[in-house]
Amino acid sequence: MDVIISNANSQPIYEQIFAQIKNNIISGRLKEGDALPSIRMLAKDLRISVITTKRAYDELERAGYIYTVAAKGCFVAEKNVELIREERLKEIEEHLKKVSELAVGCDLGDKEIFDMYVLLKKEG
Amino acid sequence: MTGLLLKDIYTVLKQMKFFVLVVIIMACLPGYSMLTFALVYSAMLPMTALAYDERSGWDKLAGTMPYSTMDIVLSKYALGYIMIAGATLISALAQGILAAVGVAKPVENVLMQIAGAVGIALFFEAVVLPLMIRFGVEKGRVIFIAIGAAIGVLIATAYKSIDSFQLPDGLNTTTLTVGVVLVLLVLNAISMLISVKSYEFKKG
């Protein structure tokens, strides 16, 4: 599993870890039942604070992506279809927001946008 | 405490070669004063150890180790006792050989003299160590020389009358020896307690 921390951007480190592990899970690189590195090992290998990795793992567990087995560690949870759908919906929403902003910029109406979409899908 | 003793022995090892030579020479020379000086010189070794400690700042490191103040102080006394014992053995052997060969005085006198010298050396250690711990090695050295000179004068005057030494009635050599031993033990114990208090005080 690759986790790359960037110090340059302003995103808090725990968010970066959360996002990267989450993407690894969603994309399938991390499969159900896979063991995650221990909080401490991840922190020490990445040379970041243990508190931060713990926070990221706590968030992942809260969001349902992983679960903890006492004295054994953290594992990837069953792919929760609902969760994934929700993620995808969020992404689509953001893309649509962007489209709407751009549309205002070049004066495109709703119907024209929809026509574009249908055309692209057909070519697809 | 073994660790501390080892550290002191390693530290003064260089000095010890010269020191052993001096002790052997002094111990082998006939005469009470040389013998005494040999033993008192060996009692000085803890002072050298203290000087090395001061120079290297060892006390700071010792504070981080699982040693009590008693351990640290006791190790210096123990070093002195070991050195005195070693020097006594060398002296006893040397003087014994000299006596057998006929150069020096007969054996019982020699034994008495050695015992006396040991007593003086122990007395020295008991007095000077707490002074050095309290005032530091430099100031302690000055006081040490002053006391040394005073004792030297005492020995010189006592030596003149030692041949005609008469024990008062009721006391014999055994009781006298036991008495002196007890006094020295108590003196050393008191000295150690004062040293511990001085060490703690300096920690301040």
Binding site: N7, A8, N9, S10, P12, I13, Y14, R40, M41, K44, R47, I48, S49, V50, I51, T52 | T2, G3, L4, L6, K7, Y10, T11, L13, K14, Y52, D53, R55, S56, G57, W58, K60, L61, G63, T64, M65, P66, Y67, S68, K203, G204
Partner: protein
């Protein structure tokens, strides 16, 4: 059980006063103690080890009161590296090994020799022939070779070149892979602390100005640079410290008290320290 708990610690010297220090080092964490020379870091560490007497306050190390007779045995589990190595100069590492074997119950000779090899330190050279870097490496090797649970490092990396410092930081980082191991690391080289610490405690002129999670500090604050006129728009309660020059204002601000429009930059811990010391106005 916390590794170190300090409550109300006070110590006065002629021209310096450590004022009512409260500090906690949670178990399994690395805490960096920052401050300028003379701020009180070494004094604090000496007080923790009971090397000097406090005027007031209580210190508990690994669950043991440092004024109790049990603290002497507690030192078996504490590895200390001071700013200098303080070994008698004629001693060789071989001698040091014998001394330590007779000092610590859990002294591990193999572990010590291992470090000697790893640091390329000659076993039979007397201490006085060691360079500064070698002396500190020896001190660190000694501190790590009796299976301690707590490492206390007082300016242990100052005076070392960057490559050696990084090597030491790696060793300290590895030490805390075990969750019962903790480190208190004091330094005025803030960049070192930023690399491995979980908490940063800033002592300034005898007072603890803050003790916070390092990552929270980096998230909480931002740096903005603006012309003087524009800076007027920044709410004063957001400004933790500022620097005014002829060319503008540079300030450390609390991110959640200013609008995103100012686009604050990510600060370094050193920035946070410098600006906090300067004060709000």
């Amino acid at each position: 059980m916390d590794a170190i708990e300090i409550k109300g610690l006070c110590k006065s010297y002629k021209d310096f006063k450590l004022d009512n220090l409260d500090l906690v080092l949670p178990s399994g964490c690395i805490m960096g103690l920052v401050g300028e020379n003379g701020a009180g870091k070494s004094t604090t560490i000496r007080l923790i080890m009971d090397a000097i007497k406090s005027d007031a306050g209580k210190v508990t190390v690994l669950g043991v009161d440092n004024k109790s007779p049990e603290f002497r045995m507690c030192k078996e589990d504490i590895g200390v590296v001071l700013d200098e190595a303080y070994f008698p100069e004629v001693l060789t590492p071989k001698n040091v090994n014998s001394v330590m074997q007779n000092t610590y119950k859990k002294w591990d000779e193999a572990c010590f020799f291992d470090y000697m090899t790893r640091f390329s330190l000659p076993m039979t050279k007397p201490f006085k022939d060691y360079s500064r870097g070698m002396k500190m490496k020896l001190a660190i090797a000694v501190a790590l070779s009796h299976d301690p649970k707590l490492l206390i490092l007082d300016e242990a990396t100052s005076g070392l070149d960057p490559m050696v410092r990084d090597e030491m930081l790696d060793i300290f980082n590895d030490f805390t892979r075990v969750e019962t191991h903790s480190i208190l690391l004091s330094s005025h080289i803030v960049s070192d602390l930023e690399k491995i610490c979980d908490y940063i405690a800033f002592i300034h002129k005898g007072k603890l100005l803050f003790c916070e999670e390092k990552d929270v500090l980096l998230e909480k604050y931002g740096i903005i640079r603006l012309p003087k006129a524009e800076f007027e728009a920044v709410p004063p309660e957001a400004v933790k410290g500022k620097k005014v020059t002829n060319f503008g204002v540079e300030a450390l601000i609390l991110r959640d008290k200013v609008s995103g429009a100012f686009s604050p930059e990510r600060p370094s811990i050193e920035d946070i320290i410098l600006f906090t010391a300067k004060g709000g106005n």
